[in-house]
Subunit: 691 residues, 2 copies
């Protein structure tokens, strides 16, 4: 796991004390600069993705549309189907190959991984250079920029060296994730809340402002470059990557009696689907482990999607008149009369984002209920299958699309069951589409606060704030009763030691004594090199932190705690051979500095790669300067919730348990706390993976 508690050893304190007030000002300014850079780069990436996706989709749909139109008259539409399936598969293949062969961790949406990272769990390679959806992209950019170097690109710019530790890096990754959300939805405030809701434990005002700044710059950059791309330079009212269009005018009003309906939609609709979804997840998870097969599977799904979509469109007879102000980019006439278009095609034959927008904003009567019902079901199953694939794909847009479809369906059905006289009050099915989308997404990802703000910012209207909130709260409460959120399911599947917000309710009877790992491997303040090497090489324990103890001179008492040292620090010390004997013989030897630790961060070499000769094993190492001399400690009687609170609030990795003589009796780590879980039958202990 990560260490968010600063290692306050003598070196660190010396550096801090030497730094002048101006030094701290400069650091503060460079933090803002880094956040600005993160926002800028994330915005640029978003802009690039947007343009590429738009171009690719444009080419794909244009080619298929022309092909279909050519063959509608003369017959032989199967060729069009084939073309569509091949195009789909080709694009998916590219993505799948990259993921399956180069970066398996890039599969999925990346949100569970970022959630874990912000919680303090180290997932190897999670923030390394790679493609991925926006939130993940933002985090990756942040990790790269803030460290002033890239291990993937093997470049070190020798800047921002101060930021090369877990605490600072996490802060920047939070900013990056926020910038990603901000660029994706044009929702800077939503982005900040997302970061806080998913990651932060300690609310720091300056940090929040920096995150906010990164989000702001990110939206701004995206809008600025997109406005140039769209030949309207300088017009900045464009929102983010995913644009739901503005809800405007009088259609936005809602009435009191609609509130229960909204709540019901939040409670029922999504969960009905979620239960299916839940049973499908184990089926759709990546059971195919060979890269080739993974790519094949992804291509198969793409082809099946095209085939199913085509079949649905083919057999649909839902023709709608093509008005002068129609919003469809690629209206398909197919078998409809001249001046009409196939309504099913609007839903399927379009980028999902455009489909959502048309479900939200199209005039009442654009879709018939049967079309929507069929679309919801088909798309739902396809989305479930897609989600488990080895491609970088999110769950946001498909969920929104499914929700919008059944929401609009509800709206239409409501309009038909009311007497004709009062038809005007249900007039706008787009409103229900929005509520449905919120319910579906909220039921799946469960981020109440940030999701509300994201939806409000993405729709550009705050009037719906209250109903969206209500729907999301209902979806969350009802959803939590049945099953955990999708991201939580993912996190659980990986059995990582994820710490929740609070200790389980009924855990007051547990104390540090029961929870801690004991006995603990301790090191002496002046320790033999051989002992240290042996301790680090012991693969059966594989500890990451070691309490440092000191014997009271001339006394038989057991040694007392005097500090805490990390595996990574010991490795650097061994690598630089900081032995007492060598220091005596080579008086001019350069003293080890914080810079040496920072250069090694974050990928410290394993102990096996460090050669220590037999003579050196007999040397001594003085840990005084390098250990954290004031580690946090608790007595053995401390209750679990109290330990938990300390861990969560300070972002600890190790907490030393001492007796009333200040002797080490145990060590509490993240894993010791994360294994307690409140299940259906009271407190349960979980099996956690070895990390």
């Amino acid at each position: 796991s990560l260490d968010y508690d600063n290692i306050e050893n003598q070196l660190f304190l010396e550096e801090e004390r030497k730094m002048s007030y101006m030094g701290f000002r400069c650091l503060e300014i460079s933090r803002w600069v880094v956040c600005g850079l993160i926002g800028f780069l994330t915005g640029l990436i978003a802009c690039f993705i947007d343009i590429v996706v738009e171009q690719l989709a444009g080419i794909k749909y244009q080619v298929v549309k022309e092909n279909i139109e050519k063959f509608t008259e003369v017959g032989g539409l199967s060729i069009s189907l084939l073309l569509w399936a091949v195009l789909n598969s080709a694009i998916v293949m590219l993505g799948a190959i990259i993921v399956a062969f180069f970066e398996p961790i890039a599969a999925g949406s990346g949100i569970p991984q970022i959630k874990c990272y912000l919680n303090g769990i180290k997932i190897p390679r999670v923030v390394r250079l790679k493609e991925g959806p926006m939130i993940h992209s933002g985090a990756v950019v942040a990790a790269g920029v803030s460290q002033g170097r890239s291990t993937s690109l093997k470049r070190d710019f020798k800047i921002f060296e101060y930021f090369r530790r877990d605490t600072e890096k996490r802060d920047f990754v939070s900013a990056g994730a926020a910038a990603g959300v901000s660029a994706a939805f044009g929702a800077p405030v939503g982005g900040v809340l997302f970061s806080l809701e998913e990651g932060a434990s300690f609310w720091n005002q300056m940090l929040t402002w920096r995150i906010f700044f990164a989000s702001m710059i990110s939206t701004f950059t995206l809008n600025f470059f997109l406005s140039i791309y769209h030949n309207k330079p300088g017009e900045l009212s464009n929102p983010g990557l995913i644009n739901f269009g503005r809800f405007q005018g009088d259609s936005v009003a809602y009435n009191l009696y609609e509130i229960p309906l909204f709540i019901a939609m939040g409670a029922i609709g999504k969960n009905m689907l979620l239960l299916i979804f839940d049973s499908l997840i184990p089926l759709t998870r990546v059971y195919v482990h060979r890269p080739c097969l993974q790519v094949m599977e992804a291509m198969l799904v793409a082809a099946v999607t095209a085939t199913v979509s085509f079949t649905m469109i083919y057999f649909s007879n839902d023709c709608q008149p093509l008005g002068p102000e129609h919003t469809e980019e690629y209206p398909l006439q197919l078998f409809c009369a001249d001046g009409e278009y196939n309504s099913m095609a609007t839903a399927f034959f379009n980028t999902p984002e455009r489909s959502v927008r048309s479900l939200f904003h199209n005039q009442p009567g654009t879709y018939n209920p049967l079309t929507l019902g069929l679309f919801t079901l088909t798309y739902f199953f396809l989305a479930c299958w897609t989600y488990g694939l080895a491609v970088s794909a999110g769950v946001f847009i498909p969920s929104l699309l499914i929700g919008a479809a059944w929401g609009r369906l509800c709206g239409i059905l409501l309009a038909t069951i009311t007497p004709d006289g009062s038809v005007s009050i249900w007039a706008d099915p787009g409103k229900y589409a929005l509520i449905g989308a919120a319910a579906q997404l909220g039921g799946i990802v469960r981020m109440t606060l940030s999701l509300t703000v994201i939806m409000v910012e993405a729709t550009g209207n705050v009037t719906y704030g209250l109903p969206i909130m209500l729907v999301l709260m209902t979806a969350k409460i009802v959803g939590d009763y049945f099953v955990e959120g999708l991201y939580d399911i993912h996190i659980k599947l990986q059995s990582v030691p994820f710490l929740h917000w609070e200790a389980p309710a009924t855990s007051h009877w547990l104390t540090a004594r029961e929870v801690m790992s004991s006995p603990v491997t301790c090191l002496n303040r002046i320790e033999k090199v051989g002992t240290i090497v042996d301790t680090l090489s012991n693969t059966s324990t594989n500890h990451n932190g070691f309490p440092v103890v000191v014997k009271v001179s001339g006394s038989d008492e057991p040694p007392k705690l005097c500090g805490l040292i990390l595996r990574s620090q010991l490795i650097v010390l061994l690598k630089h051979k900081v032995f007492v004997e060598l220091a005596r013989s080579r008086l001019t030897q350069r003293k080890l500095q914080l810079k040496d630790f920072r250069d090694a961060y974050p990928r410290f070499p394993p102990i096996q790669s460090i050669h220590v000769s037999q003579d050196e094993r007999e040397c001594m190492m003085d840990l005084t300067e390098f250990m954290n001399a004031t580690p946090y400690t608790v007595p053995q009687e401390t209750s679990l919730p109290r330990v938990f609170k300390l861990f969560r609030a300070l972002g600890l990795r190790h907490l030393v348990v001492v007796d009333d003589e200040n002797r080490v009796v145990g060590l509490v780590t993240r894993k010791d706390l994360a294994r307690y879980h409140l299940g259906k039958h009271g407190l349960e202990e979980l099996q956690l993976a070895q990390t």
Copy 2:
């Protein structure tokens, strides 16, 4: 100060351990219920205030208007002036009398007080029943409801007894403050952020959701009852108490080259005014201490306001045509031609909220620049004077009004300096009014994140989100360079031990040893009653927490730390005479329970009111059951930032400093930390008031 760390003594742990899983569920549900109630009541109060203010203002302006119209023709307008001044003074007198004679703490906006409370500083009577602006009202409602009783009303409903401690109460007060903001501006998300930005240190997801719920219910209640009041029951798209009207249509777009202008407005305009404001604050602070004089002063200000306003209107010759869709509630014709109205009167002769709305939304050309300039200056000086008065008045609306006025002025001036060909791009001065309002308010209160969201929610449009953010950030950065925010100035004036987000940057050279108070008055685990009474009666120290120590039996070593007990607990123990000797003689005596402590919370009697006889002084008291057996401790070498982080993250009140034998060497309190301050010349020590 307040104690946000739970007192985990044996009684508490026993209660928690006895509680079943269902018990915790019920508690959780009652927390939600309390938050719902808080939201509901806050919404009701907001509704009540809205209706009363509207009615009162309606009567006042109607009477004056009729009077003015009557006398315009025949001369003798001085009678109208007199009437206006008298009406103004009468209303202000009522408020001032209540504040000056009954609750002096109700003066001002209440926000600095709530800020202090959430930070952990106990200000006597801050959350007791009284009138006040919405944020404060929300907090007061929360403190009352969550405790299930009211000391002002002398009623105890015997419910929610579990919540009678600082930790729980603060959480509910956060929710109340959020509900207040939510009702005031129709900004539920803004309210949550306000609470977090001003108060919270530890971000807890469940708590955030509850705060969100309270905010939501509050807006909902307000909207619901207002919709009934306005005879449109069930139409819920009304926003909060302060409604800026919606910015809609194409006028909302802004362009890249306007961004620097917005930023300049944020940087310059507000600070120009703020510098004056800053020099006026010491003058306007309450130097008049006798209640009678305070009331007189308030009435004088009211009369002067009326006179100045009247004079401005009288000498203004800014006549505007009264169009068919005019929004003025009380258009004054005065000396204008028929079908025209006096534009200066729109600004002065109106509730400030309506004036803001008309500045935002009126057609270009409604105001002439001279009117606005004069209005800004006059209103600014009046507002400064009013703010220091002994009435419950906020700074929000006056700041918004001043900002909107000079913002619109900027917009108009910009339109005049550009060539006529491009006049359309500056066409909407309302946009500049909005930016000006944001800049002014942001410069004064400095709440970047929450204020952005509040403004966005109150204007009902997210398009302006980005410029508002930029303006607020600029206002904050530039403002911080000159002077602290208004609320921070207030907090400083009261010299309370307010803890900021982080320790001062250059404080790493300080350790717990330098910071702590020493020597510490310790109590033995089994202590003589006389010693306890003497310790508590010692007015020179007046400590609130005492480390409990225990001697190792049969050893000469100094005693070791075994717990921490609070003054309030000792008082309850003395009151119930929990003496070892009495327990032996009266075996059937009821054991002291947590309930006894909760009943006494939060106003524990002073030690002087507890009578202890000379015989009783010789008895012994066993503190084992009541002390917190696992207080947080730090070694003496811990650096100040580390101590600070522990304090801030856990909301501590006392932190025991121990040596490596676990013996007490000192105690760090909030005041020890708050006195270090980063001034112009490095680290400074402040003088803090005795609290």
